[in-house]
Structure formats: C-alpha cells, structure tokens
C-alpha cells in the first residue's frame, strides 16, 4: 500500500497486514470494517442514503431506458418477487442451504481449530503441513461437488456439498488459528508456569486467549467461504432438495431475472449476517487489545 497517500490508507478496505497489530497477534476489530472506531450517526445516515440512492436510481434508469426485465430486473420487481410465494420459491431452499452450511462449517471449523492447536505445538510438523494447507485453501472446493457426488459419496443427498463446505472453511480456520497459536508470549507462559501450571493449563489460560482474536477472524473468513461454497456447490450439482444455488440456476434458465435477483438478495443477507455475528463476537470476546 506504499503508493497510497497516508491519509487515505484508513479508508481502503482490506484484510491485509496493515490492520493486524503485531503485538501478540491481536486484531484491531475496526480493521475488519475498514473504518477506525465506531460510526457516527452521520456516517450511518450517509451509508443508508447511498443505499436508497442506488435502489431508486437504478429503478429510475431502468424505467427511463425501458430496459426489459430479462436484461436487468428493476429493484422494485426483485422485492416484489421476494414476497411472492416465499416458502416454495426461496424458504425451503434457504433451509437446505443453511443445513449444508451449518453442518459443513461445524465439521470443517472444528477440525481446522483442533489441527491448528496440534500442529503449532511442533515447528517441524507445522512446516511440513503448511504447503498442503495452502493447496487446500486455494482449491475451489465447490468444483469437487460433482466429483464427490459421482464417486466418493454417491447419491443425491446434501452430503457432497456439506463435505465441500467443510473442505473450504476448515483450512481457512486452520491457517488463521495457526497464526494465532504461533504467536506465543514467553513471558506470559513463564508466568503461568511459575505458578505451577500444567501444559494444558498454559494452553487454556494463556495460549488460547492469546490466539482467540485470530481464531475469530479465521471463523469469520471460513464461514463466508463456506457459504459461498454451499451456494456454488448447489449451482454445479445440487441435491434433490435444491438449495439457493440451485434456485439461481433454475430462475436463470427460465429467464425469471426478478426471482434470480431475489435469491441473490437472500444470499447477500446471509453473508452479511455471518459477518456481523462474528464482528460482534470479536467485539465481545477479543476486544482486549484496543
């Protein structure tokens, strides 16, 4: 970011090193929103005003140019389509996607967290395992869904997608949690040991709390990756129960773009909820480093 003027740097949204404090590997939570400190009423008002402008501006342009819905659906049509037969068109598919997401994320993040705690105990193990983790991180797991459905997990169940979600979110949690566990503070560990702490007590009272901010970041990134993988997996090879990704393909093939937009809107709201859940978890449990 060296070419960016200093006064502008705070405004650039990123997950890069600039926002991560190196002291104990703790995280500046405001860094995740790309804005320092809490938003003022004016800032919140402006954000809402922009959303309103975009919504009605798009509507206006589409009406003036008389653009057909199959080219670009009007925002009002999308909202209209959302309320139309909600359960059958979206609701039950939302439930399927959520099922895949929660199952996959629970499995993947748990394995990722435990592995992170284990491999960081031995630098040798960590160095050997690291390249494979990177490979897992960069592999688009949703591409594996058809393969899983045909070969490893045969059938039309949700399990191939659950597996893909786990494979997508697990390494994300692992890589971030490992960063957290790696940042040991010898003085704090010595402190606990001087009181006679066992290895497990040192882990529970020092290493884990020290790693917690990074673990939460890992969960946040992993959850968002998991959701995208669930939806993408449904797009390439949905179970017989459908899912939001399946509905995207379905409405697109029928050129019902207002319904397509409605599904996209639901997915967006899901992603935002995940973000805010972890943002507030971070605020509550890992804000000790201001």
């Amino acid at each position: 970011m060296s070419e960016v003027p200093k006064e502008l740097q705070d405004e650039i949204p990123s997950f890069d090193e600039e926002h991560v404090s190196h002291d104990h590997g703790t995280v500046d939570w405001t860094g995740l929103t790309s804005v320092r400190g809490a938003r003022s009423a004016l800032e919140v008002g402006t954000v809402i005003a922009i959303a309103v402008c975009v919504f009605f501006g798009t509507e206006l342009i589409l009406r003036i140019t008389d653009t057909p819905t199959y080219i670009f659906p009007k925002p009002t049509a999308v909202v209209q389509a959302l309320t139309d037969d909600f359960w059958l068109q979206y609701g039950k598919h939302l439930v399927v996607t959520l099922q895949e997401f929660f199952l996959g994320f629970a499995i993947g993040s748990t394995i990722g967290l435990v592995l992170a705690a284990v491999i960081t105990q031995k630098p040798f193990v960590e160095k050997v395992v690291a390249p494979y983790i990177i490979i897992l991180v960069v592999t688009p797991m949703l591409a594996l869904v058809p393969f899983l459905r045909l070969s490893l997990i045969r059938g039309t169940s949700i399990w191939p997608i659950v597996a893909a979600v786990a494979l997508a979110s697990g390494p994300m949690v692992l890589i971030n949690a490992a960063t957290g566990f790696r940042r040991t503070d010898l003085a704090k560990i010595a402190l606990a040991r001087s009181y006679g702490a066992t290895t497990f007590q040192v882990f529970r009272k020092i290493r884990f709390p020290l790693a917690l901010p990074m673990i939460i970041v890992g969960y946040m990134v992993g959850a968002i990756f998991g959701l995208l993988t669930a939806v993408g997996g449904e797009m390439v090879s949905a179970s017989d129960q459908g899912g939001l990704g399946h509905q995207l393909i379905y409405f697109f093939s029928l050129i019902r773009m207002e319904n397509f937009g409605a599904v996209l809107l639901i997915i967006e709201l899901l992603g935002l909820s995940i973000y805010f859940v972890f943002y507030f978890i971070g605020k509550r449990w890992a804000s000790w480093e201001s």
């Binding site: 704090k188 010595a190 040991r193 001087s194 009181y195 006679g196 007590q201």
Partner: protein
C-alpha cells in the same frame, strides 16, 4: 555462627550454577560457575549489562530453566521445577494478561493452583498498593505504575516466602519508579520476604538492596558483591547524598570493567 539451627541456613543457595545455550553461532555461556547464598529476609539486587545472565539466573532459581551444571537450593531443597508455593515471580513490565480484568489477573495464581482466593488478603493488598476500586478495570485502562502495582499484588496473593523480580520497574518513568521502589520497601519491611531483584539501574539497586551482586557478561559471572550499609528506612533524599553517588560510580566502574573485553572483540 549458629551452625545447628536450620533457621540460620540461607533461604536460597546457588552452587556453581552454569547454563550454556546452544545457539546457531555456537554455545553461549549465559551463566558460569555462579555461587551465591541469599539469607532469609534479605534483599539482594543483581546488576549488570544486558546479556550478563541476570535473567537466566533468576529464571533458573524460579525453576523455569534447567541448569547445565551446578545446583540451586531453595529452602534446602534442590530446584528442579517451578515452586509456586515458595517462590513468587515478577517479570519485566507488568506482564498482566490483557484479556483479564485486574481482579481476574490477581486471581490467576490461585486459579492455576486450584486454591480458593483469599478475598480478605486480596482486598488488603489492593488497599495497600492503592488499587482499591480498580478491580474491574482492564490492564490497558491503567497507567504503567498501576499495572505494576497489580502485578505486585498478583505475586503476593498466595504469600510466597521468596520474590524473584526481573527488572520489574524497567519500563517505568523515573518518578513512578521511585514511587514503586518505596512501595516495595514498605511491603518488604512489613512482610519480611526474601527478595532477589534484577535491575540494570544502579541507583535503584543501591536504594533497595542489602547486598548488590555485580555480574559481567559472556560468560555470565559474579564479578563482585557490594554491601550497602545505608540506614533504613531509606528515603529518596538519600539518593542525592555524596556517599550514595560515590557508591553509584564505584559500582558503575565494576559493571563497565566487565563489559570492556566484549566491546573489544566486537
């Protein structure tokens, strides 16, 4: 001269303590053949330049490091691991856990030892160091001096007979440091604990100590021991007296003499 009484035995006996680290560039002699006795209730300061083995000596006494050879006895028993009931350790900076409130930080030793927190004692200590009312604050909300006070309370909650202090006031400004030294002196007088205090501040060492041990680096050796016969209770005013300043100069020259060979090699 009382040979049979166990009460007269030194609280800490360090016998030929040697510690060699294996570094990439070869072995580092952090501590070599160091021998020292510390009596019950004595306050000994260890001074020396960075890297002279002060911290290694202290951590070995606390049972946090194993020696390469030699042995350390605390209460007549060889140290082979941490001795939480007998030894309280204070570290550089306050070393509080930033995710815990002051109260929770102070409870950490009891928590690890799975003991009940002595509420009365904690309240008394907090009052004593002037931290009453700050129990629910977080470390980052307190000044450096207040954090260090909390750290003292933490070390004293479980009432160990020995305090090992590793440059605890090194990061504080001069005024706060004086204040903390006075507080430490008061607590020491009241509780008659045995204290080994590591510092690189000679003035601080003279102000506090019964005896000052000067160490020289590479290998970390005991260079000389100074007896400090300033009357107690000591005051900050004493630090400006000619005899005090003379002693500072004398110790400083011994500390620096040890450093010269290293400076030439580099």
């Amino acid at each position: 001269m009382v040979l049979s009484s166990s009460a007269a035995k030194p609280k800490i006996q360090i016998r030929g303590a040697t510690k060699v680290y294996e570094a990439k560039t070869g072995p580092v002699h952090a501590l070599e053949d160091f021998t020292l006795d510390v009596d019950d209730g004595e306050l000994v300061c260890i001074v020396g330049l960075s890297g002279c083995g002060k911290t290694t000596l202290l951590w070995s006494t606390a049972g946090l490091h194993a020696l390469t050879s030699g042995e350390i006895l605390v209460n007549d028993t060889p140290v082979i691991g941490p001795r939480p009931d007998e030894i309280g350790m204070m570290f550089q900076d306050a070393n509080l856990l930033p995710w815990r409130s002051i109260r929770k930080n102070i409870e950490l030793p009891s928590e690890i030892k799975k003991q009940h927190v002595d509420e009365e004692r904690v309240a008394m200590l907090l009052e004593e160091v002037g931290l009453a009312g700050f129990e629910h604050s977080f470390p980052r909300e307190l000044s450096g001096g207040m954090q260090q006070r909390a750290s003292i309370v933490r070390a004293l909650t479980t009432d160990p007979g020995i305090l090992l202090m590793d440059e605890p006031f090194g990061a504080l400004d001069a005024f706060t440091r004086d204040e903390m030294n006075l507080l430490l002196m008061r607590l020491w007088t009241e509780t008659s604990k045995t204290i080994v205090f590591v510092t690189h501040n000679i003035g601080e060492a003279i102000f506090l100590a019964d005896r000052i041990v000067v160490m020289t680096p590479r290998p970390g050796r005991l260079e000389r021991i100074f007896e400090v016969d300033l009357p107690r209770p000591r005051t900050v005013a004493m630090t400006f007296e000619p005899s005090f300043i003379e002693l500072v100069h004398e110790i400083k020259s011994v500390v620096e003499r040890g450093a010269r060979p290293v400076a030439e090699v580099r």
